[in-house]
Symmetry: C2
Subunit: 308 residues, 2 copies
């Protein structure tokens, strides 16, 4: 009913970062792809198996030093229902290894339909009198454009099953301001959405002071990160846009509180493709390269914050 | 590169409605469920098979009189990757029968990730040198909170593969006004989003005058439907909230232009569960009851508009 489990993992690993698993087939080393193609041909099934193998090998190398993974649903859907099966298997494998799993789905709908998304990603569904877990993540990213009707079903499951959500507040992309920076009275849309997050989470605050309702705030907007950290004291931040998109560690420091908590910073491609960026790294060592980049990122981020 | 294919189907069937296939297992008649449970036990696989059988039998009864279906992704994800397989099969079956398929996924993200969603739902993906179609819908609902970065990848595929999108503008739920009705200067957020739709679609306008970028506007807000119809002359409307949520046919009439075009009205549960609402309808006749409700809805809606 809060982000306590995630925060405890962050403190345990002294690492406020999350590895985004957004695996395009291009990122997967040839030796994995060729093995899967040999078995199932050039099919969506083979692509999905290659992706799961890739994810599994990365998880094996990082689970002891990184608290969480963030699989991005789009990259799995891109390979059809076999891809979605690879997502389910990735979530299960990471949780088996003790990692916290944030499914990045940016889901949104209302009423009974939002209940269905909540059940899908965070809950369980009854089939006859058997309880089944469809995806089983620990947290889900969501879009709050539809208002409380779209968030209420999530709050119920967060409370009952100790799960969390991250609501899009100020996204990392260049055109995020087209709507999010527009002023409602004197308050930008993103701050109005942020206030809604504080409100939605107000009855589910954990022992570290953060609720089960977090916010997505981009590393590319350091001023807004700092402003929102002050404005939203009980809202945990998920911070995309570090590295590739241009967000630096110093600018991100404003997302954290005085104890170095309150935020988790994502990196996806830089970690998945570390073996392509290192000089002379054989592709067989892709997972070890991913670990090296995860360590580098941890040191980069924690140099500017007070996490003990 | 516009909604011409959908509009042509609407004119052919003289029916501006779409059947929402949002199948909770509760909606599926016992005889279908028991057959699937007997084969695969009380599993997500059995649930998914039951849902596909249910959808298929409804499609068989309505494909000649209804132009489109709108499967809601949440209800398939609720049954895990087997559920997602049922979505893929439902889309393929409806298209085989000549229906236009709108996947209601309300997807949203930025850049490469939004490209992945676009590829997943409307495009094709390369696996090695083989081109695969992951979901294959004709149109997708999306959320525009992230701005142009989240929409641009869709526009490219709409143009290249003759697909369409519906962006959430004014949703049908009670709390939609929490953000959507707030004023930016003198313009409500929903109208700002509507203007963005007109802008995004401005280079993809078809022979009926509508672009490939539509808008979701709820039947529960008749004044806004009428206002937005005038404000957004090239934007096709997808109108949820008819019936169960309280939107009446007379109020919806404002969503249509003077030719009775420019909007398509959704009904989900009233059609899927028509057999439960009719007196003395045996559950074996659920699909025929769905057809009767589809006919009733068509007559109700077209009584107030000028579709010839």
């Amino acid at each position: 009913m809060s982000f306590d489990r995630l925060i405890a993992k962050i403190i345990e690993t002294k690492n406020p970062t999350v590895v985004g698993l957004d695996p395009r087939l291009d990122y997967v080393p040839e030796f994995i792809k060729q093995e899967c193609f040999a078995k199932d041909g050039q099919t969506l099934k083979a692509a999905a198996n290659a992706i799961f193998t890739f994810n599994k090998m990365i998880i094996d190398e990082i689970y002891d030093i990184v608290p969480a993974i963030k699989p991005q649903a789009a990259y799995y859907e891109m390979y059809g229902f076999y891809g979605v099966e690879a997502l389910v298997k990735t979530i299960a494998y990471a949780r088996e290894k003790g990692m916290f799993v944030i499914t990045d789905g940016k889901r949104n709908d209302i009423g009974a339909t939002m209940e269905a998304y909540t059940t899908a990603h965070l809950g369980t569904v009854m089939v006859g009198d058997t309880e089944c877990e469809p995806f089983g993540a620990d947290a889900l990213t969501v879009n709050g454009y539809l208002g409380t009707d779209g968030i209420a079903p999530l709050l119920k499951v967060c409370s009952e099953k100790d799960k969390g959500i991250f609501v899009l507040v100020k996204t990392s992309n260049k055109s995020s301001g087209e709507l999010q920076d527009k002023l409602i009275g004197e308050t930008p849309v993103y701050a109005v959405m942020g206030d809604m997050c504080e409100n939605w989470g107000s009855e589910q605050i954990g022992e570290y002071g953060y609720s089960s309702v977090g916010a997505v705030v981009g590393a590319t907007y350091p001023d807004q990160l700092t402003e929102l950290r002050k404005r939203l004291p009980h809202t945990m931040f998920l911070v995309p846009g570090y590295g590739a998109q241009g967000g630096g560690a110093q600018g991100i420091a404003g997302a954290f509180d005085e104890k170095g908590l309150g935020a988790i910073v994502n990196s996806s491609r830089a970690i998945m493709c570390a073996y392509k960026n290192e000089e002379n790294c054989p592709e067989q060592d892709f997972a070890k390269a991913a670990r090296r980049e995860a360590v580098r990122m941890k040191e980069d981020i924690t140099a500017y914050i007070n996490l003990k």
